[in-house]
Amino acid sequence: MARVVVDVMLKPEILDPQGKAVHGAFGRLGFDGVADVRQGKRFEITLDGEATEEKVAEIRKAADTLLANPVIEDYTLHVEADQ
């Protein structure tokens, strides 16, 4: 069974309050030298069978319509090599 990974990030120009909160915690915990933190989402999608071109195209469609909102988010998609 193949796995497709979709990583979703807020577009750079969109404020990320969650990333800012994490960045604030870095400072309080003494992790210095961090200029910025942005938080995203990772989806690991396990397919029934092989990652054929057709199936990956379907997942790309799912990413476009559901997993990411193109108004505020960008995403990258890759097929993970078999373990």
Partner: protein
């Protein structure tokens, strides 16, 4: 005159929205997310709450509910639709309205009485307000920060599609203090604050919210 109010799993304000419709003189009809039939309603309210627990993004999963397929189609034909808070998020996710709503910039939940200015009183939901009418209604949200790219914001302003703007301090980081917008036809309105909580003096800071519901009664009669 029937106003339908959709209940999604996790909707909170559906009962208040139905009550507001009744107070305004309409017959309130409960609509269910899993039922694509609108049961002959003349207008639809998508209420506030946390449908699907705001999983993925606020409104992102509700947008694909069977009832939304019908609402999206009918909205294109002129059906008046008001999305309040989570309903506004659903309308943006459905692409019935441009832009998106993200977490409040200060990362805290807000619950307060919020002054607003009604900047467009030509929509199906705001005709009972005067131009630039200032009202105070409840604002309570987590993902209330309205965002869109500069071109979209310029278009909204240029075409007069900003329905309501926050007065005093911007409560949630919304770009250009935008509290509510409409589509070009004026039948679809998204609003972050809650007019349905402000229709009776016993429980609200004002009755300023009632105008949204009385406006749509007139819009339906006129059409």
């Amino acid at each position: 005159m029937k106003i339908g109010v959709v209940t999604f799993p996790g909707s909170l304000d559906d009962v208040d929205a139905r009550r507001a419709a009744t107070v305004a003189g309409a017959e309130a009809v409960a609509l269910w997310h899993g039922d694509a039939d609108l049961h002959g309603v003349d207008a639809v309210v998508l209420p506030g709450g946390f449908s699907y627990g705001d999983y993925l993004r606020a409104g992102a999963i509700s947008r694909f509910a069977p009832v939304m397929e019908t609402i999206i189609k009918k909205a294109g034909e002129g059906l008046p639709v008001l999305g309040i808070c989570n309903g506004f998020q659903v309308l943006c996710e459905s692409h019935l309205l441009p832009g998106a709503l993200i977490k409040n910039h200060h990362r805290k939940f807000i619950c307060k009485d919020q002054p607003l200015r009604i900047e467009n009183n030509r929509t199906a939901w705001t005709s009972d307000y005067d131009a630039n009418h200032e009202i105070t209604i409840v604002l309570k949200n987590q993902d209330g920060s309205y965002v869109a790219d500069e071109a979209t914001l310029d278009r909204l302003e240029g075409e007069g599609l900003v329905v309501a703007r926050y007065l005093d301090e911007n409560p949630n980081g919304s770009y250009r203090d935008i509290a509510g917008i409409t589509n070009a036809r004026g039948n679809v309105v998204g609003l972050m604050p809650h007019p349905e909580h402000c229709v009776e003096t016993l429980t609200g800071p004002s009755t300023d919210g009632l105008g949204f519901f009385t406006s749509v009664l007139k819009a339906v009669v006129a059409s």
